[in-house]
C-alpha cells in the first residue's frame, strides 16, 4: 500500500477547513484512505536516522496517508484534496478536456526497433502551467509514486517530463545501440554515451536500481526531438536540455512502456492531476503517436468511459433498497457522474479518466456502499443453513496431540522452513534431490528447504531451551512436504508426529514408551514382525541419524492376511552424538518420528 506525504497546511487550506488529527482520521476512514501519522519532515527523519541528522530539516507538519494500491489518482496532494472535497459535496468533479492545437498535433514517431526493448510511448502537453515551489515538488513526488507503484519501478512504464519550449517536435522514439546515443543527462554538465552513462550511474543511490531494465540490451530506447537532441533515455534519465524549472510554461509529458494500458493510466493520472495548474484548468493538448505500421493514435484519452449498471444489482449486492436518483447522488460523491435511466431502473455511469480502478459494475456498487457508509448499512445474517465438518486429518491429529499432551509431553510449534543443512547434513542424512522442496529466493539461509522431517525444528526448540529443567519432553504434530510428481502441484504434505526426550540419560525406553502409548490410543496392537497379524512392530535399524544399535524402524501392517500390506512408517532411537553436536545439544536425546496419515 503506497504512503503519500502531503503538506498538512496546504491540504487543509485546499479542503477549506482546519481539521484536528482525529477529525481528519475519521474523514479518511470513511472515504477509505488511512491517516498513518501526523508528523513533520524533521520528526520522520529523526525516527529513521536519529535526531542529530534530522537537525535543520523542516518542522512543517506533514500528513502520512496510506492509499489503496489501485487508486493512482490519490497519490498526490492534488488528487487527495480534490477527491475529499467531492466526497464531502464541497466541490464537483471537474470535466477533463482536451484542447486541440491550432497548428496541428505534436507528433511522436515510433521506430520499429523499439519493439525489441520498450515498444510503447504515449504523450501529452500541459499548456501555460504555473509552477510554484510547492506544486512543483508535488509534481515530482507524484511521478516518483507512480514509478514505484503502477510502473513497477519503471519496468512497465517510465515518465519523462520536459520544458516543451526547449525542444521541438516532431519527436522520434527510437532504439539505438548505447554507443550511438550521446547527451548531457539531467543536472550534469558532461556529455555521455549510453555505455558511459551506465557506468556513471552504476553507484547512484536513486537511479542505480533502474539500470538493469535496459543495461544488457543491445539497443537502448531514446526520444529525440526534431533537432536530434536527446529528450530522454527511458527508463533511466532525461536530457539536461529539456529540464523543467519553476519558470517552465509548457510541459511535454511522455510515458514509454512495455504495458500500454498502464502507460495510458499513468499519462492520464499526471495530466488530470496537474492540469489543475494550467491557465485553462483541467485541459491538456493531445499528442499524435505514429506507429511503425503507419497507425496513428491521439493521446491522452480523457473521455469518460460509460457503464450501465442496474439499480437492482447494486441493491442486491449491498442489501440496500436505493432509488436510482439516490444512487446518482451517492456516486457523485465518489467522483463518478451518473445519469438516471429511469424507465429501466438503470443508471448510466461516466467513469472519469482518473478512475482506472473501475473495471466492473461491482466497483460502482462498492462506491455506492462507501458513499452510503459501510457502517450505516443494516446488518443482516446469511440465511443459508449448512453443516459443520472438520477436515479428517486435522481432527485425527488433534486427538493424537491431546493424547501425547496427556501423556506428559509439551507441544512445540517450530517453523516449516529450515536450512538445507538442518534438514539433511545435521541429521547425518544425504540429500538425494528426490524428496525436499527447495526455495528459489529466500532472504536468509534459515529458509532454504521445506522440511521433510519434524526433527530439526523440535531439536532447535530444545537447543533454545537449554536452561529449562530436565527432562525436556517435547512433541509436534504437523506437516512435512515431499516432492511428488503424482500431484498437480508436484508436492504433497504429510502429517507427522515427532517427539524428543532430553535428559542426563538417553531415555530410550521413555521414547519407546510414548510410541507404545500412542499406538495403544490408536488401538493398534503390537504384533510380531514374523507373523501376518494387523498391527505395528519395530525392527532394529542402522539409521545414521541415531546412535549405532540404538534405533529401530516402526512398521505398520494393515489389512487382513493374506492380502495385508506392511509399510515402514517411521523410526525412533537415541540420537547420534554428531547430530546432537550439530544442533549444539550437550545432553543425550531420544527421538521418535512417524507418519500419522498411515493410520487414517
Amino acid at each position: 500500500m503506497p504512503t503519500v506525504n502531503v503538506d498538512k497546511n496546504e491540504l487543509f487550506q485546499a479542503l477549506g477547513k482546519h481539521y484536528t488529527t482525529d477529525e481528519f482520521r475519521e474523514l479518511c476512514f470513511e472515504f477509505g484512505i488511512e491517516l498513518e501519522e501526523d508528523t513533520s519532515e524533521k520528526e520522520m527523519a529523526s525516527k529513521e536516522v536519529g535526531i542529530a541528522k534530522a537537525e535543520g530539516l523542516s518542522e512543517r507538519p506533514i500528513l502520512k496517508i496510506d492509499i489503496p494500491s489501485n487508486r493512482y489518482d490519490l497519490l498526490c496532494h492534488e488528487g487527495i484534496s480534490r477527491a475529499l472535497l467531492i466526497f464531502q459535496e464541497k466541490a464537483n468533479s471537474p470535466p477533463y478536456k482536451l484542447v486541440e492545437p491550432a497548428d496541428g498535433h505534436v507528433q511522436i514517431v515510433i521506430k520499429p526497433e523499439t519493439a525489441q526493448i520498450r515498444p510503447h510511448v504515449v504523450g501529452a502537453i500541459l499548456r501555460n502551467i504555473k509552477f510554484t515551489e510547492r506544486n512543483y515538488n508535488n509534481f515530482i513526488d507524484l511521478q516518483d509514486k507512480l514509478h514505484n507503484n503502477i510502473c513497477r519501478k519503471r519496468t512497465l512504464v517510465a515518465i519523462g517530463t520536459h520544458d516543451f519550449d526547449t525542444i521541438k517536435g516532431p519527436f522520434t522514439y527510437e532504439a539505438l545501440s548505447p554507443k550511438e546515443i550521446k547527451f548531457v543527462p539531467l543536472n550534469q554538465t558532461k556529455e555521455l554515451d549510453g555505455e558511459e552513462l551506465m557506468n556513471f550511474y552504476s553507484t547512484d543511490k536513486h537511479l542505480g536500481k533502474f539500470l538493469h531494465i535496459i543495461r544488457d540490451s543491445p539497443v537502448y530506447p531514446v526520444i529525440y526531438d526534431a533537432n536530434r537532441k536527446v529528450c530522454s533515455l527511458p527508463p533511466i534519465i532525461n536530457g539536461d536540455l529539456s529540464k523543467i524549472t519553476l519558470n517552465t510554461k509548457n510541459v511535454f509529458i511522455e510515458c514509454t512502456a512495455t504495458d500500454l494500458t498502464k502507460a495510458k493510466v499513468v499519462l492520464n493520472t499526471v495530466v488530470t492531476m496537474f492540469s489543475e495548474y494550467c491557465e485553462q484548468p483541467f485541459t491538456a493538448e493531445p499528442v499524435k503517436v505514429i506507429y511503425p505500421d503507419g497507425t496513428e493514435r491521439i493521446y491522452p484519452d480523457l473521455s469518460p468511459r460509460t457503464m450501465t449498471v442496474k439499480a437492482d444489482y447494486i441493491n442486491a449486492c449491498t442489501g440496500l433498497s436505493l432509488e436510482t436518483s439516490e444512487l446518482v447522488t451517492l456516486l457523485k460523491r465518489m467522483s463518478l457522474s451518473a445519469k438516471d435511466v429511469e424507465e429501466e431502473a438503470k443508471i448510466l455511469v461516466e467513469v472519469p479518466p482518473t478512475r482506472a480502478d473501475v473495471l466492473h459494475a461491482c466497483d460502482i456498487m462498492e462506491d455506492v456502499a462507501i458513499a452510503y457508509g459501510f457502517n450505516n448499512i443494516p446488518k443482516t445474517l446469511p440465511a443459508c443453513a449448512t453443516v459443520g465438518k472438520s477436515l479428517p486429518v486435522n481432527k485425527f491429529s488433534d486427538l493424537v496431540r491431546r493424547e501425547i499432551a496427556l501423556a506428559g509431553w509439551t507441544e512445540v510449534l517450530p517453523l516449516i522452513l529450515c536450512s538445507h543443512d538442518e534438514n539433511f547434513a545435521y541429521l547425518n542424512k544425504k540429500d538425494d534431490n528426490l524428496t525436499a522442496v527447495k526455495l528459489a529466493n529466500p532472504k536468509t539461509a534459515e529458509y532454504q528447504v521445506v522440511r521433510t522431517s519434524l526433527l530439526p525444528g523440535v531439536l532447535k526448540t530444545v537447543r533454545e531451551n537449554k536452561k529449562h529443567t530436565l527432562p525436556i519432553k517435547v512433541f509436534e504434530v504437523s506437516d512435512v512436504v515431499f516432492k511428488d510428481n503424482s500431484f498437480e502441484r508436484l508436492a504433497r504434505n504429510e502429517r507427522h508426529v515427532c517427539a524428543i526426550y532430553c535428559n542426563k540419560v538417553s531415555g530410550f525406553e521413555i521414547i519407546q514408551g510414548l510410541l507404545n502409548r500412542i499406538m495403544d490410543m490408536l488401538d493398534v496392537k503390537l504384533v510380531s514382525a514374523s507373523d501376518d497379524k494387523k498391527g505395528y512392530f519395530i525392527k532394529e535399524s542402522d539409521d545414521t541419524t541415531y546412535f549405532p544399535n540404538r534405533s529401530a524402524d516402526i512398521f505398520l501392517r494393515k489389512g487382513e492376511a493374506p492380502s495385508n500390506i506392511t509399510k515402514k512408517i517411521g523410526s525412533f532411537g537415541i540420537l547420534h552424538p554428531q547430530v546432537l553436536e550439530n544442533f549444539e545439544l550437550t545432553y543425550p536425546c531420544s527421538a521418535l518420528e512417524f507418519n500419522l496419515e498411515e493410520f487414517m
Partner: protein
C-alpha cells in the same frame, strides 16, 4: 543438641514451676549445655501457633561483644607483647632477636612493636632487653572483661580491640516466654494428613489435625501442555463449527501461482507476486497441469476482460501462472474449493473455513515472520449481501469477545467491496485492525463457472495477533518457531473467548 520435643518439655516445665522465663539465654538444657536459640524458636513457634496457644513469647534483641579466636587466645595466654616481655630474661643482656623468634615464632614479630610502644623493652645491639621490671597486660585484662560480661565500660577500648580484630559486636536474639491461654504440661501430637491407617483404625475421629496452611501453593502437576497458538486455534475452530462451517483441505503448502494469484484475479504485475514477497520454488519450479478451459477463461478475464469487466488489459503469460510457490494465503485453497463447487451439477450454499500456515518472503522482525497462520472463512450462496457480510462479521467477532466493530473501505484485487475490520482496543485507546473481508469479484467467480447470482463473502485474519494480544506476547518469535520458551508454553492459561 536437644530435640524440639526436649526443648518444649524444658520450657513447659520451667513455666509450670516459675510462671515465666524472663530471658531464654539463661536456659540450661538437660545435658547442661547452653540452649541453641534458633532451635528454641522452632519449639516456641510450634507451642504458640494459632490453634495451640500453649505459650506466648517475645523476642529480645541484645548486642554483645564476642572475642574472636585470636582474642580468646590472648585472654587465655596473654597478648603478643606480654609474651615477648615474658620471654626476655631479667638482666642487662636480654635476648637476641633471632633467639626470640625461635621461641615465639610469629608472635615475636607482632609483639615486639607493641612492646616497644609500651616502653616495656628496648633494643641493645641485636638484643632486646627489659625496660621495666614488671608489666600489666591490659589487653588481656580488657579481653577477659569482655569475655565474661559481653561488653566493656570504655567504648574506646572496644573500638580499639575491634580494630585489632580481637573482638566483634554480635546481635544475640533470645526470648521471654510466658504461659499461653491453653497452657498445659503435655503436648498433644497433631496429625498432618488423613491416612489409610487412620481410616482403618478410626483414629481420624479423635485425632487433632494440624492446621493446614492455606496460604502455601500446592504441588505443581507434571502433565503435558498444548501450545498456546494451538489453544487459540482450537477456540476458532469451535466458533466455525458452531456456525456450520466445513474445514477446507489446506494441507498443501506448495501451490501454483495460478491458484494462488491468477484464479483470484490478481494481475501478474501485482507487487505481491514479486520475489520480495513470495517464496518461489527452485525444485520443483513449475507445474503444467491446470483445468484447461478454466485456465483459458482466467487468461481472458485478465487480459481482455469479460463478465461485464474491462479486465486489466495486459499480456497474460502462462509462464507466470505455472510458477510454483509456497502459498502466500489460504485463499488459494478457497479458490480451488469454489472452482470445485462450480463444477457440481446443482449449486448448494457452502460455508468453508481453514486455519493453517502461510508463507511470506518477509524480513523477520518482532511482528513479522516468514510463516504465520491465517484464519479464513468463506460463505457462498445466491443473493448474499454486503449487509450479510457486515452482520456476520459482527456475530463472528462477538463470539471472539470482540465488540465495537467498524468497517473501513480498502482495496484487495480479488474482493469488491473490500473492508478492513477495526475494533476499538481499550488498552491502546485506539481502533486497531482485526482482519480483512470482502465479496469476491465477479471476475474471480464467473470464470469458475459459478452462476452470477452466487455471491461469496470471505474474511481473513492472522492467528498470531489475537494470540499475542491474549497472552501479552510482544515478539512473534516468542510464540511461533523454535525460539519459544517452554516455560511460557507450559504456563499459558486456557483460551476461552
Amino acid at each position: 543438641m536437644s530435640t524440639t520435643e526436649e526443648l518444649q518439655t524444658l520450657v513447659l516445665t520451667i513455666l509450670d514451676a516459675k510462671g515465666t522465663i524472663p530471658n531464654t539465654k539463661d536456659l540450661v538444657a538437660s545435658d547442661n549445655k547452653e540452649v541453641d536459640q534458633l532451635a528454641l524458636l522452632g519449639a516456641l513457634k510450634s507451642l504458640s501457633i494459632a490453634d495451640k496457644e500453649m505459650v506466648k513469647y517475645e523476642t529480645i534483641e541484645e548486642e554483645i561483644w564476642v572475642l574472636t579466636d585470636e582474642g580468646n587466645e590472648i585472654a587465655d595466654k596473654g597478648s603478643h607483647e606480654a609474651k615477648v616481655f615474658d620471654a626476655i630474661p631479667v638482666g642487662e643482656e636480654g635476648i637476641a632477636i633471632s633467639a626470640l623468634r625461635e621461641i615465639l615464632g610469629e608472635t615475636a614479630k607482632i609483639g615486639q612493636g607493641k612492646a616497644f610502644k609500651n616502653k616495656w623493652v628496648i633494643k641493645r645491639g641485636d638484643n632486646l632487653v627489659r625496660a621495666v621490671d614488671s608489666i600489666i597486660d591490659q589487653t588481656r585484662i580488657d579481653l577477659e572483661v569482655i569475655r565474661s560480661t559481653g561488653t566493656h565500660s570504655d567504648p574506646k577500648v572496644l573500638f580499639e580491640l575491634r580494630k585489632r580484630k580481637l573482638c566483634d559486636k554480635h546481635k544475640v536474639i533470645s526470648y521471654s516466654v510466658s504461659k499461653g491461654p491453653k497452657f498445659s504440661l503435655t503436648i498433644e501430637k497433631q496429625a498432618r494428613d488423613v491416612t489409610f491407617e487412620m481410616l482403618q483404625s478410626g483414629e481420624w475421629k479423635t485425632a487433632n489435625f494440624k492446621k493446614y496452611n492455606f496460604d502455601a501453593l500446592g504441588i505443581p502437576p507434571s502433565g503435558g501442555h498444548l501450545h498456546p497458538l494451538m489453544k487459540v486455534r482450537e477456540e476458532f475452530r469451535q466458533i466455525f463449527f458452531e456456525m456450520g462451517f466445513e474445514e477446507m483441505p489446506t494441507n498443501k503448502f506448495v501451490e501454483s501461482s495460478f491458484w494462488n494469484f491468477d484464479s483470484l484475479f490478481q494481475p501478474q504485475q501485482h507487487p505481491a507476486r514479486d520475489a520480495h514477497d513470495t517464496f518461489f520454488l527452485k525444485d520443483p519450479a513449475i507445474c503444467t497441469q491446470f483445468p484447461t478451459e478454466y485456465l483459458k477463461r482466467v487468461k481472458e478475464v485478465h487480459s481482455i476482460g469479460g463478465y461485464g469487466s474491462t479486465g486489466y488489459g495486459y499480456d497474460w503469460k502462462i509462464e507466470e501462472a505455472q510458477k510454483l510457490i509456497l502459498r502466500t494465503h489460504t485463499t488459494a485453497v478457497s479458490s480451488f474449493m469454489l472452482y470445485n463447487l462450480a463444477q457440481q451439477k446443482e449449486f448448494k450454499p457452502v460455508k468453508y473455513f481453514s486455519i493453517d500456515r502461510v508463507f511470506r518472503n518477509e524480513t523477520v522482525d518482532a511482528t513479522h515472520l516468514a510463516e504465520f497462520h491465517q484464519v479464513e472463512g468463506v460463505i457462498a450462496d445466491k443473493g448474499l449481501t454486503l449487509g450479510d457480510l457486515i452482520g456476520f462479521m459482527n456475530t463472528f467477532f462477538n463470539k471472539m469477545g470482540v465488540k465495537n466493530l467498524r468497517f473501513k473501505p480498502a482495496y484487495n484485487p480479488y474482493t469488491e467491496p473490500s473492508m478492513e475490520i477495526f475494533s476499538y482496543h481499550q488498552g491502546l485507546g485506539k481502533w486497531v485492525e482485526m482482519g480483512n473481508s470482502g465479496m469476491f469479484r465477479p471476475e474471480m467467480l464467473e470464470p469458475m463457472g459459478l452462476d452470477p447470482e452466487v455471491r461469496v463473502i470471505a474474511w481473513g485474519l492472522g492467528l498470531e495477533r489475537p494470540t499475542m494480544i491474549k497472552y501479552g506476547i510482544n515478539n512473534i518469535r516468542e510464540l511461533l518457531g523454535h525460539k519459544v520458551n517452554l516455560t511460557t508454553i507450559q504456563n499459558n492459561p486456557i483460551c476461552l473467548f
